[in-house]
């Protein structure tokens, strides 16, 4: 998954102002934590939802630059949301970062196969999440 990312040095001081991020996680505390990290990365949280179906609806309505999705969610799993976004030309360019408490090689492979740009295992370091968000959004031609 590292190969999918630009080197951290390239995104040390990215211009992330105006970058819009969608956050989806069924755990309220983690959703809030991810929101904090996204804002610390200099981005705007355009939506924060607790289930997969709502995340998909909001992504289609808002067309954010990045969606940070938890894998295990009610409604639709992060993997299903990821696949649905990639299948629709209108949403296929949205950056996707998956978060999951399952950290085996199989889980990472499944996440990347579903079309995610990056995959982060829980528990993650907040600093690491901030770097990932910056790295993924700096790629966007904002």
């Amino acid at each position: 998954m590292d190969a999918a990312l630009p080197a951290l040095a390239d995104v040390a001081t990215p211009d992330t102002a105006g970058v819009r991020v969608l956050v989806a996680d069924d755990e309220d505390d983690i959703r809030a934590l991810v929101g904090l990290a996204v804002r610390k990365a200099g981005c705007t949280v355009v939506g924060s939802v607790a289930d997969g179906a709502a995340a998909l609806d909001l992504a289609r309505a808002e067309l954010p630059d990045l969606a940070v999705l938890d894998v295990s969610m009610p409604g639709a799993t992060g993997l299903e949301v990821c696949a649905a976004l990639r299948a629709d030309p209108a949403t296929s360019r949205i950056g996707i970062l998956l978060l999951s408490a399952g950290a085996s090689l199989e889980d990472v492979a499944a996440g990347l196969a579903a079309g995610a740009d990056a995959y982060l295992a829980k528990p993650f370091q907040v600093a690491g999440l901030i770097h990932q968000v910056r790295a993924l959004t700096a790629r966007q031609p904002a």
Binding site: E27, I30, L33, L36, S72, G102, L105, F124, A127
Partner: protein, 598 residues
């Protein structure tokens, strides 16, 4: 059995034996006594006729002499058994009888009595060789002459005619009879020979029949033993089919597992009726074989045997997960006769395994989620540059963070051992520099060791020591060994990490110098001067959740997963983990890993 009985019936017919004996006597091949019997009987009849007066006595002395000599001769015949003299006696006895007939004829003055000469004459004639014929002719002449000489009452003309014609008739007739008797004798000899051969054959057939009977009974006993063993298996299904998959053997275990009694299955159903068609199709695709029976036995055919899980569908429609061992069966000629399917019902066991997997992954997920929040928010507080913490606050929160990390490692270890158990543990192999791994293991315990007053000595080669493995897992194994060593060594002690290249032979012997029959290995020894492990507990050390009594006595924290994980990682890399320890003196763990040939 049927064949033998039929043979016995043909060969064992008693009739030809009796007729054969009679033919032999008629052909002059009986014993002397047997051949003298007819004339003896006739003499007895004549004696009784004389006694009753039916036959008149002309000269009592002659009659007495005739009867006495006749019976005496018969007595001699009875007594003679020696083959050497039997031939001579065989001539003498009928000759005496012939003379006795002449004497009796003279003694009774009755020509009719002369018919008594017929049996002995016949006996002589029918004897082997032509000598008997000559003796009979001369004897007959003597008999005809005897009454004349003794009585001289017969007219001379009639006498000379009888004297000429009698011996002539006896001679010529005798020659004919003798020839017939000779032929009869030949036939009787053949019959006798055939009879002997038949008896030998009969004995052979009887022996064979006995052997066959014994073999049949042994086979039946063996079959009975096999059947009773198979029938005693009630918890495993033993199913035997012919080459087409038609069921021939169905044990009580199969009855119990699949709910059908033997009579409803044997020769009536195919093994395929108990399998899921879709599973067979999937197997056919995987094994690139035809579907149906071919798919079922494909692997067994390729490798001689095959053990894997199949779904059996019981009579009530319930699917059973069964671990089935499939082997080909041969007949007594060694040619392929069918297939054996020995199955163990794993339905409950597999369900338990699945539940365990699900449980571990659920627990892991459920524990990681709150830990994510704890560690995440801790990080935010500790790293918040806008609101710096007091030293005291920082110290408290660092303690919280350290314990949260410990909890997280425990969750990781539990999940890892569960993966090893389930066989889901996979390596991510790449080139790993073991020297770097050892140095970083030392770095990670440096602070703890310093705090505990434990010295760490690192003895690692200058350059890199590269081998093929999973860097993360090897780091974990190394960390476990090093942190254990520090944990179990009291203050003032020393932990030595020494890494070297070596060569290992197939029987496990390791030498520092290259040897042609040895494979290159990397060896990491982690030695401590710690509390040691009692020798009685060393065997259990790599068992999950096992903690040495010394560890418990000294209240060294831990759950007993580290060494089990280290061992699993070592094994997965094709390596070995050994230990030498003495209680109170210290422990050395040696990790030996294969490395590529230079």
């Amino acid at each position: 059995m049927t064949t033998v009985e039929a043979g016995t019936a043909v060969l064992g017919r008693p009739a030809p034996r009796r007729w054969g004996r009679l033919a032999a006597v008629l052909a002059g091949r009986g014993t002397v006594l047997e051949r003298s019997l007819p004339s003896t009987v006739l003499f007895a009849v004549a004696a009784s006729l004389l006694t009753t007066g039916t036959l008149p006595v002309a000269n009592g002395e002659l009659v007495l002499a005739a009867l006495a000599s006749a019976f005496l001769a018969t007595l001699v015949a009875r007594l003679v058994t020696r083959p050497a003299v039997a031939a001579d006696v065989a001539l003498v006895v009928p000759l005496v009888h012939l003379g006795a007939a002449g004497l009796l004829s003279a003694g009774t003055a009755s020509a009719g009595v002369l018919f008594l000469a017929l049996p002995p004459a016949l006996t002589l004639i029918s004897g082997p060789g032509r000598r008997g014929v000559l003796v009979a002719a001369l004897g007959t002449a003597a008999v005809l002459l005897l009454p004349v000489l003794l009585a001289s009452s017969t007219p001379a003309g009639a006498l000379s005619g009888a004297l000429l014609l009698g011996p002539l008739a006896v001679g010529l007739g005798g020659l004919g009879v003798n020839e017939t008797a000779r032929r009869l004798g030949g036939q009787a000899a053949r019959i006798e020979r055939l009879e002997t051969e038949r008896a030998v054959l009969l004995a052979q057939v009887q022996t064979r029949a006995d052997e066959l009977d014994l073999a049949t009974r042994m086979l039946a006993a063996r079959a009975q033993t096999m059947t009773s063993v198979i029938d005693a298996v009630t918890e495993q299904s033993i199913i035997g089919t012919d080459r087409d998959g038609i069921i021939r053997v169905w044990n009580p275990g199969a009855e119990k597992m699949l709910g059908l009694p033997r009579p409803e299955v044997v020769r009536k159903r195919s093994i395929l009726e108990f399998h899921l068609p879709e599973e067979l199709e999937a197997a056919a695709e995987e094994g690139e074989s035809a579907t149906g029976l071919a798919a079922l036995v494909h692997a067994a055919q390729e490798h001689g045997s095959d053990v894997r899980d199949w779904t059996y569908v019981a009579a009530d429609g319930q699917p059973r997960t069964v671990s089935v061992a499939i082997t080909p069966r041969t007949d007594d000629q060694g040619s392929h006769a069918g297939w054996n399917f020995v199955g163990t019902d794993m339905t409950e066991a597999r369900a338990t395994e699945r539940m365990k997997d699900q449980f571990v992954s659920l627990i892991s997920h459920e524990l990681r989620t709150p830990l994510t929040s704890i560690l995440g928010y801790l990080e935010l507080v500790l790293e918040d540059e806008d609101q710096p913490l007091t030293e005291e606050q920082r110290s408290y929160l660092t303690t919280v963070e350290r314990n949260a990390d410990r909890l997280l490692r425990l969750v990781g270890d539990l999940l890892f051992t569960a993966q090893v158990d389930a066989g889901h543990f996979t390596l991510k192999p790449e080139d790993v520099d073991l020297a770097t791994v050892v140095r970083s293991a030392e770095e990670s315990v440096r602070v703890t060791a310093a705090a505990a007053g434990v010295e760490i000595v690192v003895d690692v080669p200058e350059g890199a020591l590269v081998l093929h493995g999973d860097a993360v897992r090897l780091g974990q194994a190394c960390d476990n060994l090093v942190s254990n060593a520090v944990k179990f060594t009291p203050g003032g002690g020393r932990v030595t990490l020494s890494l070297r290249t070596a060569w290992q032979t197939a029987d496990g012997e390791v030498s520092a110098e290259p040897r042609p029959d040895a494979a290159p290995v990397a060896q990491l020894a982690v030695s401590d001067t710690g509390i040691g492990i009692p020798s009685g507990e060393q065997g259990k050390l790599f068992t999950r959740f096992f903690r040495a009594s010394t560890a418990q006595r000294n209240a060294v924290p831990g759950v007993g997963l580290g060494l089990a994980i280290t061992k699993a990682i070592t094994t997965a890399h094709g390596g070995m983990l050994d230990l030498v320890s003495s209680e109170g003196a210290g422990t050395t763990f040696t990790l030996t890993l294969p490395r590529p040939a230079a």
